[in-house]
């Protein structure tokens, strides 16, 4: 059970911070140029943050310890391969979900 106050705090906090990020150069710093180095660093944000979120979940047993669950690992590999090959988010999503369901149903 996640406490209510915590959920509302996260909703409000994330909303405010996200709005400020969006408003940054449109409004707060309007007319200022973003330094070239910062643009480049920001470009790496999604490709660093998302894998950092993904990897421990793929390799976790759910209780904090690491484990190699074939269903999770194979699903991750297939979704990754589908996304890299097609460059299409939806194709990767469908491939990943289908693999996970099929492996789950066959009891792997």
């Amino acid at each position: 059970m996640i406490p209510d106050w915590k959920i509302w705090t996260v909703i409000a906090g994330l909303a405010v911070v996200t709005y400020l990020i969006r408003f940054s150069f449109i409004g707060l710093l309007a007319g200022r140029r973003i330094p070239a180095g910062m643009t480049r660093a920001l470009g790496f944000v999604p490709v660093a943050v998302l894998p950092a979120l993904i990897a421990p979940i793929v390799l976790s047993a759910g209780d904090g310890s690491l484990s190699a669950d074939p269903q999770r690992i194979i699903t991750a590999m297939i979704a990754l391969a589908a996304g890299a090959a097609t460059r299409n988010v939806l194709a990767a999503l469908v491939a990943g979900l289908a693999t996970f369901l099929v492996l789950g149903a066959t009891g792997l």
């Binding site: 920001l42 999604p46 979940i57 904090g64």
Partner: protein, 245 residues
């Protein structure tokens, strides 16, 4: 740089119906990508124990799927609220780049339009608008803003609606379906198409490896450290330009 708003541009800065209509039309194909993620978020949020009101509130005021899923993931792992907010914020940092890039096309736009625009600045509204501005460089400011608001309002409405459908659907799915693994699948689907070139691959590899090694750190802090290291690693790879010099 000249920052004085000039009079003619001020007058033209009324969002036009023509631009808005073009934006609505251009947004139609991307709704195919927005709706499934809204559904998924709605289902997962309710499964994680959020009420429908909380789920709807989150999609309506944050309007950024990946960060919502990230925050949700950390909430279910019982990380502190601050860490959940911070992680969601880091996921959304890319929007500062969108903000800087699109602001160049909105010079002399009145502040109230800028404040409204910031609400609906998303991956979709940014990408489609920039594409449009490059193809139609002569368009008036009003048309440009109209287009952006057309894409932004439609995609956000569909995002919120899809979340609602997902949340009501999620309420009927019994717990224990192993839906927790849908979050990483969703993230993999988002990131896999971006993994182009050595720098991006290195950033991803460093971040993923460190995140696993540091997964024992309390409060999900390993994630933030790993992400920072990944960004740094990608940044240190020389760009093609520097390489040829």
């Amino acid at each position: 740089m000249d920052q004085r708003p000039d009079q003619t541009a001020m007058q033209a800065a009324t969002v036009t119906r023509h631009g808005f209509g073009a934006g609505l039309l251009a947004a139609l194909p991307v709704l195919l990508a927005v709706a499934p993620f809204g559904l998924i978020f709605g289902i997962l949020a309710v499964e994680a124990g959020l009420e429908i009101t909380q789920t709807m509130a989150m999609s309506s005021v944050v309007i950024a799927g990946a960060s919502q899923l990230a925050a949700l993931q950390l909430l279910t792992e019982h990380a502190p609220a601050l860490i959940a907010i911070l992680t969601g914020a880091v996921v959304n940092l890319r929007m500062a780049m969108y903000s800087a890039s699109i602001a160049v096309h909105w010079q002399s736009t009145p502040m109230h339009w800028r404040m409204l625009a910031a609400i609906v600045l998303t991956d979709q509204s940014y990408a489609l608008s920039i594409q449009r501005y490059r193809r139609h460089p002569g368009e008036s400011l009003g048309d440009r803003l109209g287009f952006f608001f057309g894409v932004g309002s439609l995609t956000c409405c569909v995002w919120i609606l899809a979340t609602y459908l997902g949340a009501t659907l999620g309420n009927r799915i019994p717990p224990g379906w192993g839906l927790d693994f849908v979050v990483p699948i969703t993230f993999i689907a988002i990131v896999a198409p971006m993994l182009r070139g050595r720098a991006n691959l290195l950033a991803a590899a460093v971040a993923a490896t460190l995140a696993v090694l540091l997964s024992g750190l309390p409060y999900g802090m390993g994630l933030l450290v790993a992400a920072a290291a990944g960004i740094e690693a990608g940044f240190l790879v020389p760009t093609a330009k520097e390489h040829n010099q």
